[in-house]
Each structure stands twice: as structure tokens, then as C-alpha cells.
Amino acid sequence: MKRIIVCLKQAVDVSQLKVDPKTNQLLTASAPKKISDFDKNALEEAIRIKEKLGEAEIYTVTVSSEDAKAVLREALAIGADKAYFVNDPSFQDVDTSATAYILTEAIKKIGEFDLILCGEASLDSFSGLVGSRLAELLNLPLIASVRKLTVEDNTVVGERTLEDAYETVKAKTPALITVTREINQPRIPSLMMIMKASKKEIVTWTATDLNIQKEKVEGKIDVIEVLAPKTERKKIMITGENKEEIAEKLAKALIQEGVVGR
């Protein structure tokens, strides 16, 4: 195992997302950004493989139309050796087909690798397609949604949980693996690691550097609208002198509402 590439998305921190109460629009532009959780698991897994095997370079690749330097620095602090940043204003609103295409061009330019690790899906859009699309474009074996990974010489073995079965799948490297959140608990970088990371390299490429074809970035889907779902709940708080009184009031309400199953 000489080189592991981890695809890292800078995602909207969905736990800090606010909604405009008038329009029901999400205020994504002003929401804080972070490394997509699942991708952090992918990075952590790469570091564990490196620690186990002793030797391997870990490169991260990030595609974004916005600034993502803080996220890249964090990845370097956690343990990546080098970060590639493919940054171009034309990448705004890219869909999964465009993202996979741009990642493919970046990875081809990086050159050789043994393993590509991706999160199973991203925290914000939650599509879960990019890893699979990338495997197809690079003509690689794919093991998707892996919750335990074992790497030996030139094979990888992934354990996955399907709807009705556990499955163990083997592939030869180079291969692409998408990981679930169960696979590990990502480490938090120490101050030392953060300081060391400032010396590591971030390589920035534009669309031109990668000969990106404009029509391939335009994408295959159109987002019509993204709206917060309206919740019309009664929000009635039941109070009382003691638990018996509360329970009686609640029981009565449930029976009156006709939601008791019997």
C-alpha cells in the first residue's frame, strides 16, 4: 500500500442550519461548513491503515467552488500528508455526475494509488452516489457501505450490512471503498498535529489546470426547490399536579384523538 486517496467534501453543518421562517428557504450560504462526517471516517480509516502497515502516503482531494482552506488544514492536522484542492467558481451547484467527473480528472493527474476511500454519502446532500460514480469512471472494483475494512498486500476485504444479511466482499487493489459511520471513531487532532499541519502542502488546481470540459460540469439534474418541510403540530404541553393527573389527561387526549390502535 503506497498511496491512499481520500475524497473529502466540505459540507454544510446541517446541525447549525437555519430556516428563513417567511420563505421556508434554508439559509445554506451563511451556515458553517465542515468536513462531511462520513468523509472524516474515511480519512480516519486511511490513517489506521497507514499506522498498521507502517508506510503509505495519504492524499485528500476536495472539489469546491468556495474557499475550503480551513477544512483542508483540518484534514492535514488529522493526518493527511497532502491536500489537493480543486477550486473553481464554475463548480457552483455541481451534481453528483459533475463532482465524480472532476474528482476523476484530479485523481488521474495525481497519478498512481492503491486505494480510494470515500464516505458512503455526504452530510448535507446525502445522495450517496459520488463514490460509486467515481469507481465506474476510474474502472475500479467497488465495495460500498463498508463497516469494517481489512487490507492485505494487494487485496482489500470489506464487511457490509445489507437489508437482510451481513456480507464480506473481497477485491484486488487498486479499489474504491465507501465507508459508513460505524467503521471507526475519528480522532481529534492535538495542538501539536495542528501546528505540524501548517507545514504540509496544499495543491490548488482550477478547472483549466485539469482541462475540465464545461458541458460536463453542467450536470444532469435540475434542483427545482429545496424547502424546509412545514410542521403543523399542535404542541400542547400536558401539565398537572402529579404524574397520575398528567397520565390521565394524556390518556384521555389520545383516546379522543382516535389514535389508540386497539
Binding site: V14, S15, L17, L26, T28, D95, T96, S97, A100, D124, S125, F126, G128, L129, V130, G131, S132, L142, I143, A144, L162, E163, D164, A165, Y166, E167, T168, V169, K170, A171, T178, E182, E218, G219, K220, I221, D222, I224, V226, A228, R233, K235, I236, M237, I238, T239, K243, E244, I246, A247, L250, A251, K252, L254, I255, E257, V259, V260, G261, R262
Partner: protein
């Protein structure tokens, strides 16, 4: 682009195939086109008639011993061959752990778009498919459509209902397809114990979160569930961290739609709420008055679940007599 026609469905999961035929039938009727089921496997021809009974006009059957079990490249090559030759307008693929990567790779080969996990589908005035999906960690619903064909959407289980089987006429076409060499090998499979009852179909769900201290304490919820005629559910940490259960309710788990959802000791983080939004009524019991679950509940009780649950069970017992 205009030469693409027909609505197709495929899943390696048979129940999901029938559910997609239910919705596919409606879309095909709206578009005045045919509904095609793709049947892949080994010795599966006897299922073809059943697919027609459940709404298909046509079945493309690819029967080959090499297709007995799902294998990514083998199944991908079959679907690629069929879709490239017969050019469907719409292709619905079951959003399983195997089906979703399959859909993504097929869309890549066909240089087309894919909209994953559509819980609703409609057709616009131009005949384009519109998919609705939960996004931003449950904070939003996105409506998305296509710029390319075939229009590939993946469909989660139990989003749509099967049709009642009917005696209908249909056409079964057996096809021979060259199957690609596998790039991966399944070295072991073990069955997973899943609950025999489908939580998606439960009328009442009594659900627990990290407020429950010990696994045995779920008896408190079981007592209530029994009198309400419901079943148990739980938040993700009880499965993932504590390993008390294997499944959970929420964005990354089961999306439920009971008449009544009782959330006990569940904080109401958005990813959990995304899975219970379609409940007719939500009741929350939580000892933290600031818990976000109260924002999405119809009835809320601020209190200790260890006190409220037994009292509620008793009160219902009395009042229902």
C-alpha cells in the same frame, strides 16, 4: 433524447419491485406508455407472470446461473445492455445497499442523471419525472428533475404501495445478455436477524432513546405498546453505540408513518425527526423542557419517563375498560 420511452423498474429485492410497479403503473398511465419489469436471476421465469399481475405490461427476463445471486458487475452489465438497447424514458431502481451503487454506476455508464431515495414521484407538464427527497440532514425536502435520459431514480422500501394482483395480459421476452467479469468476490454471507414485523407498517410506535438507562427497562415501553396495540422503535444510538437493537428510526434508518408515535427519552435531533415526520400524531415524553422533540410534537410531557410511562399505561388501562 425523444426516442426514449417506457417506464422500467428493477430491484434485486422482489417486494420492492412490486412496490415500484405500483407507482410505475400510475406514471406509465399518465405518460401513456408501457410499464416494464426487468427480471434478473437464475430460474426465476415463474415470477414473470406475477409481475404482470402486479401491473407490468412487459417483462424482460434475463435468466442465467451466473445471476443467481446479486453481483455488481454481472447485474450492472445486464441492466446496461438492456437500457442501452431499449432506451427507457424512466428507470426506477430499488434503493437497497446493492441497488443504489448499481443505479449510480449505470447512470455513469449511460451518462445520465440519478436522483436517489425518492419518497415521492410525479411528472411535470413536459413529461419529465420529478423526484422528492429528504436532504440537509432532514432539514429540507428537495424537488429535483432531470436534464438527461433515461431518468434514473432510486426508490426506498415502502415508499409506495403494491397493486392488488389482477389477471392481466402481458408479454414476457427472454433475453440473452453477455455478462461482465466480476471485479469483486463475495466471500461470505450471513443472514441478519431482522424484526419479523415491519415497523414501516406499524399503526402505533412507542420509541425509546438514550433516556432509557438499561435495556431491560424497555419493558416499560412494551407495556404501553401492548395496550396501544403498537410495537417498539428506538433512536440510532441505542443500536449503534449500545447495540441493544440492530435497527433504528430516522433519516439513516426506517422512515415510519404510524397513527401515533410516542417518543420517550428522545431529544428530537433532526436526523431522528426526519424519520417520523409522516406520523399522524407525535407524543413526546422528556425530562428536559428545552428538548427539540417538543417542537415537533402534538402532545408533550416534561417528566421522567420512568414515572410517566407506568402511569400512562395504567391510566389507559382504566379509561379503555
Amino acid at each position: 433524447m425523444s426516442e426514449n420511452k417506457g417506464v422500467w423498474v428493477f430491484s434485486e429485492n422482489y417486494d420492492l419491485t412490486l412496490e415500484m410497479l405500483g407507482k410505475g403503473r400510475k406514471i406509465a398511465d399518465m405518460l401513456r406508455t408501457e410499464l416494464v419489469a426487468v427480471l434478473v436471476g437464475s430460474n426465476v421465469q415463474e415470477k414473470a407472470n406475477d409481475l404482470i399481475k402486479h401491473g407490468a405490461d412487459k417483462v424482460y427476463l434475463v435468466d442465467n446461473p451466473a445471476l443467481e445471486r446479486f453481483q455488481s458487475e454481472a447485474y450492472l452489465s445486464v441492466l446496461h445492455n438492456l437500457t442501452a438497447n431499449y432506451k427507457p424514458d424512466i428507470l426506477l431502481i430499488g434503493s437497497t445497499k446493492n441497488g443504489k451503487p448499481l443505479a449510480a454506476r449505470l447512470a455513469t455508464r449511460l451518462e445520465t442523471g440519478c436522483i436517489p431515495d425518492c419518497s415521492r414521484l410525479s411528472v411535470d407538464e413536459k413529461g419529465r419525472l420529478i423526484g422528492e427527497r429528504i436532504t440537509y440532514g432532514g432539514n429540507a425536502v428537495a424537488k429535483v428533475t432531470f436534464r438527461s435520459k433515461p431518468q434514473i431514480a432510486t426508490i426506498p422500501g415502502r415508499a409506495f404501495a403494491k397493486l392488488e394482483p389482477q389477471d392481466r395480459n402481458g408479454e414476457v421476452t427472454k433475453l440473452d445478455v453477455k455478462i461482465e467479469e466480476p471485479k469483486t468476490e463475495v466471500v461470505e454471507t450471513k443472514p441478519l436477524e431482522t424484526s419479523s414485523v415491519n415497523i414501516e407498517e406499524a399503526k402505533v410506535i412507542v420509541s425509546c432513546g438514550r433516556g432509557l438507562e438499561k435495556k431491560e427497562d424497555k419493558a416499560l415501553l412494551e407495556d404501553l405498546a401492548k395496550i396501544l396495540g403498537g410495537q417498539l422503535g428506538n433512536s440510532r444510538p441505542l443500536a449503534e453505540d449500545r447495540k441493544w437493537f440492530t435497527e433504528w428510526v430516522g433519516l439513516s434508518g426506517h422512515k415510519v408513518k404510524p397513527k401515533l408515535y410516542v417518543a420517550c427519552g428522545i431529544s428530537g435531533v433532526i436526523q431522528h425527526v426526519a424519520g417520523i415526520r409522516d406520523s399522524k400524531m407525535i407524543v413526546a415524553i422528556n425530562n428536559d423542557p428545552e428538548a427539540p422533540i417538543f417542537e415537533v410534537a402534538d402532545y408533550g410531557v416534561v417528566g421522567d419517563l420512568y414515572e410517566i410511562l407506568p402511569a400512562l399505561t395504567e391510566a389507559l388501562n382504566k379509561q379503555l375498560q
